[in-house]
Every structure is written in C-alpha cells, then in structure tokens.
Symmetry: C2
Subunit: 199 residues, 2 copies
C-alpha cells in the first residue's frame, strides 16, 4: 500500500485543516498516512523569523484568517484564531509522538487542533492537553511523564531536523514515497494522486 508522510505543526492553522481530513481522504485513495509532528520554530529561526509569518506580515495574516474561515465554513467546522497566536505546541507535539507509538495519536492530534482552533483554548496548558488526551481515549499511564522522556524529546528534535533536511519550510507538508514534496492543505489532493503513481 502506498504511503504519504504528513508533516504538521500544532501552531499551524493550515495544518488544522489537513489534520481534520487527511485520514478519510487517504483511505479513499488507498494510501497509508504517517503522521509526523515537527516544530517550525527552529526552521523559522534559521531564516531570521522570530514568530509566525502571519504576524510578521500582517496582510498575509489577515488573508489567512479569512481564507481559513471560508474553507472551514465550506467543510462544516469552526475556525477562529486563538490568542496568543502562534501557540506553543512543543508539549502537544511530544504527547502526539507518544500517542503515535501507542495508537491514540491521530485522535489526540485532531482533538488538540479542535481545542486550539475551534475552541480557542491554549494548547500550551496541561489542562487543555489533558482534555485532548481524554477525548482521544488515551490510557492513564502518565502520558506527561512519557512526553518529557529523553526518547520522546529527542524524537521531536529528530523530526524537526529531518524536516529541515528535506527542505520543508512550512506546514502542512506532504511527502510521497517517491520523494515529491507538497506544501499546503490545498495540495493534499495532488499529493495523494502522486502517492499512488508507479515509482
């Protein structure tokens, strides 16, 4: 079965759009999804950005909010930019890595994105993440301790390094097995088509 790697960042509004639809779309296309949380912060810092480009370039930020409102409305879900934006998604990403090993990753990831971008909750707070864990049916075995383990911490750093090495500069990004990179939620359809091409 063909596979696609879904590179996402919890602070990213367009990653929210893809997280909410990628599993169903990939299933229809007969493609497996590999979920890869990473951090845009170090990648942005390398190009001298200290916050989201949507803050650095206000016209782009205003456009993004309206563009996602239109798309969310068409897809039947809510969107409102949380405050602060961007949020710190490091702990959420570490929990997601644990969950992806344990099987509750995708449900947890979607739950975090919904709390952040539909409910404007702060995903840097443990209470928000605990709610997402509960919603995802994560078992009660000290997920926060696990998320702070050296293995998980270095796993997230490795993902971020790998993203940078792959030439990823934004999120979401989709990588096919034959090495084609696609950036942006609106390229998901094209990425899935390329995933199923003969290599």
């Amino acid at each position: 079965m063909a596979r696609i790697t879904f590179w996402f960042e919890f602070a990213s509004t367009y990653s929210y759009l893809s997280a909410m639809r990628i599993e169903e779309m990939a299933r229809k296309a007969d493609v497996d999804v590999i979920w890869k949380p990473f951090l845009l912060g170090p990648i942005f810092k390398a190009q001298d950005w200290d916050t989201s480009p949507f803050n650095i370039y206000p016209a782009k930020g205003r456009y993004m909010v309206r563009a996602i409102e239109r798309i969310a409305q068409a897809r039947g879900f809510k969107f409102r930019l949380p405050n602060p934006f961007p949020q710190n998604g490091v702990l959420a990403a570490r929990l997601a890595l644990a969950g992806l090993e344990d099987g509750w990753g995708p449900a947890f990831i979607r739950s975090v994105f919904k709390l952040e971008f539909a409910e404007q909750q702060n995903i840097a707070e443990r209470a928000t993440l605990a709610a997402a864990l509960a919603a995802a049916g994560a078992p009660e075995h000290k997920p926060f301790e696990r998320a702070e383990s050296p293995e998980i911490k270095s796993g997230l750093r490795e993902n971020t390094d790998e993203a940078q090495a792959l030439g990823i500069f934004g999120a979401p990004s989709f990588l096919t097995e034959n090495g084609e990179l696609f950036w942006g939620d609106d390229r998901l359809e094209q990425a899935l088509l390329w995933s199923t091409r003969i290599k």
Copy 2:
C-alpha cells in the same frame, strides 16, 4: 454577468500558471475577467524584501520550481525558471495596460509569460516584448511610446497602490465583486465559485 479581477505580476511564476488558464475557466463559469497588472516590488519593499521571496528563502524557491514543473507537466506546457530571476516586468506591465485598453491585452500577456517561463527569454528586453506584441497581433502604432506615456505610467502606479490598499501581498490574486480575496493559482477554482455567489 459576474466579474473577477485577476491581479498578476509578470515576474511571478504562479501568475504564469493562472494567465494560461483563467480565460477558459472563467468562460466556463460564466464570469468576466478583469486583468490587472501590478508590481510586487514596492509591496515587497514595504516588508523589507529586496528580491523575490523565492530567492530570499532558498528552500521555498527550490520547492516552487518543482511544484510548478509538476503542474505545468500535468497541464501540458513547459516551465523553466529564467535567468535572471525575478525579471524586471515594468515595461511589459505598461505595454499590457495599453493592450488592455486596445483589446490585445490578454493575448500579449500570455505571450510574454510564455516567452519568459517556457522559453527563458528576458522580458525586460524590447526584442522579447516586440515578439510578444507581434504574436498578440498588436497593431503597429508605436506601442513602446504609448507604454512610456505619463497616463500609462501612472496607471501602473495606481494599480500597484490599489493592490496594496486591498491587502494584496502576492501574485496571482483574485478579487471577487463581493470583496473576497484569493491568493495563488491553486485558489482560482474557489475564487470563481465565490464570484458567482449571490452578493
């Protein structure tokens, strides 16, 4: 009949993609196209960029080249980045303004984009633009003198000011009559759908 305004810049690779398909797509959607050349240079300068973001951020530039190769191949035309990139499209944009008044604008615009991005010719050179004028069937009445007239020069400045006032930060951008802005060739379908909505 509904109308859509197509904001484009001759140096912009993604504007090439839209210029080659917007008339046919708009006709099918029963929408009139208003072609609006403008300059990204002043808009980029206002955010401290002195060249294309594809040069400032090399990972983004490499991605853009591959992304457009894939799209061009799927749509059956050629693409290769010209050298230098970005090109100076000021004179081309002024000629386009004259052509849009006289009826040969769209054909000329497509011809310029093809010479630039399929044939790697330099559109800052008069010989290239003369070839585009000939290909577009522009009548022989001193188009270069016309392009350098105060009216045309100030028309291009006004377009650029208007783009900036509308919150346009990149090209292509599409503006519907009901004030919705869409950025990027891959949003053209969505922009046309919105154009035909009841206001």
